[in-house]
Structure formats: C-alpha cells, structure tokens
Amino acid sequence: MIEELLHRSWPWYVTGPLLGLVAVGLLAIGNKQFGVSSNLRHLCAAFLPGNVAYFKYDWRRTGLWNLVFILGVVVGGFVGGVLLANAQPVAITAAAQVSLATLGVRDSSGLVPRRLFNWHVLLTLRGFLMMVGGGFLIGFGTAYAGGCTSGHGITGLADLQLPSLITVISFFAAGAAASFLLLPLLVPR
C-alpha cells in the first residue's frame, strides 16, 4: 500500500504548489532567486571563461549555491526517477496519444521515449540536430532571455515582472511551433 503510494505519480495540485514552495523556500533560506539556467553560465565561468566578459565574475560567491542546488536536482532525479520510479506509462490524454503517434511514438512508458533518446539516434543527423541542436538553442536562448521556465516562468511571473511575461509567451509560442513543425522533421523514421 505504502509502496504503491510512493511509486505513484503525483497529481497537478500536489506538484504545482510544491514547485512554488521551492521558489519561496530559496528566498526564505538565503534570499536566493529560483532559476536553473543561471547554472549554465556558472559552469562556463567555472570551467571555460575564455576571454569573455560575461563569464568574468566571482561565480563562487554568486553561483556556488545554485551549482550545489543543481547537483541536488541530479540526485533528486535519481530518487524520483529510479528509486521511486512509476512503472505505469504516463497518463497523457487520448488526444495527446493520437498526436504523438503521428511522430511514431506509441509507447508512453518511461520518462522519455527510448526510441528517440538513445546513443544510436544521437549519432544520426536527425538525432544530432534534435539533441545537440535543441540543447544549444536552450542554452543560447535562456542566456539571451536571462532565464528559463523557472527563473522567468515561476520566479519572474510570481513577482509580476513584465519582461518575464513576455519571455513566457514567447517560449510557449515557439515551443508549440517547434513541436508541430520541427519535431516531425527530426524524429527517427
């Protein structure tokens, strides 16, 4: 019974509020702003600052807490995704199943479709563009916009900041366009 409860996935009204509490908690603990993509900048500053002004700052002072936080996220991913893994396929809507089937994705078990995300696919042109191209756009875009789904989407929106609202509208619109128009070109045939 307990075992089953621990492995079951959470409903939105548990997930959403807890997510909001992460942002409130970081602020209450150390006046830190919840935002994951800053870590991409801190990683550059720590390992490969080159001669780039954007990476010349004291990353230990401003970013070490966030790098420690993201290390925790990796561990949390192991706890939630492996130790407490949900054996059932994700309960997406029937309409979503039909839509994703047009991409050749019919098996909704696991966290990502294994058919799309594996090392063999990475070595194909389409797979490389999907994973490396997509990752590059995520890193470039979040740095340019100064935040991602956490920093703009939760912290910025919850603080009623207009730049964050603009960013959120922009990334949702582009995300929908990419899912409908680009993804069909990139999934393995």
Binding site: L43, W65, G72, V75, G135, Y144, G147, T149, D159
Partner: protein, 136 residues
C-alpha cells in the same frame, strides 16, 4: 550549502514524481492536447506569488539574515526577451525538456541527456561570446 543541496534534491523529486521531466507531458502541453502542465504551472505561480508577497509585506529577512528582495529584470528594448525566449522555446519543443528537467533526467538514468546539457552549456558560452554584438 547543505540547505541548497536538500532543496535541490526536493526539486528533483518534484520534477520526476510530478512528471515535469516527462517528454510526453511537455509535448502534450505544447500540442495543446492536455491541461496537466498548465495546471501545474498556474498553481506553482499562484503559490510562489502568495509566498513572495507575504515575505515582502513583512519585510522579512532570510535565515541568513539578508533583507529579502527580488531585483527587477531590466526591460531595455525587450528584444532579448522576445528573441531569447523564442530560441529557448524552439529548443524546448525539440528536446521536450527545459534546463531543470535536463539535469534531473541525467540523474534518472537517461544518460544521453548529459550530451544535451553539454550542448546547452555550449549555447550559453556562444551567447556570452556574441553578447556585445546582440541587441538587448
């Protein structure tokens, strides 16, 4: 530092158990085929907004003793928010994961996501390099 690590672990568990790392959930939302992600997002923002407002109104200090303040984002021309947001959105739609979930997925055993994380670091580095020439 331990507190931030613990918060990170908690966030990682919320991301995985709440299926926010799920490619299926993200693509479901971006194809407007389900409300799950929108409900999570709206309730997260509502709780965070209430918490922020409370902390600000009480002029609270953090546990480390600092006055709590969220610096406003500079609007500038706004180009960075429209274009940066759009480029991020394209990557998000293609990969089906945003930065937090990318890291959580590595921990959850989807090893190939480490390559996506490295590509994201390369993207951020490229932005830093081109930054003086980009409109903000």
């Amino acid at each position: 530092m331990t507190a931030y690590f613990v918060m990170g672990v908690f966030f990682g568990i919320v991301l995985t158990k709440g299926e926010l790392v799920s490619w299926f959930r993200i693509e479901e939302a971006l194809r407007f085929k389900g409300l799950y992600l929108y409900l999570v997002f709206a309730s997260a923002v509502a709780v965070a907004a209430a918490g922020f407002a409370l902390l600000k109104r009480r002029r609270a200090r953090s546990l480390t003793g600092e006055p709590i303040a969220i610096p406003p984002k500079v609007m500038g021309s706004g180009v960075r928010y429209v274009v940066g947001g759009a480029l991020f959105g394209l990557g998000w739609g293609i990969v089906g994961a945003c930065p937090g979930p990318l890291f959580a997925l590595v921990g959850a055993g989807v090893g190939v996501m480490a390559v996506v994380c490295l590509a994201a670091v390369a993207g951020t580095w490229t932005y830093g390099y081109l930054r003086p020439r980009l409109p903000h």
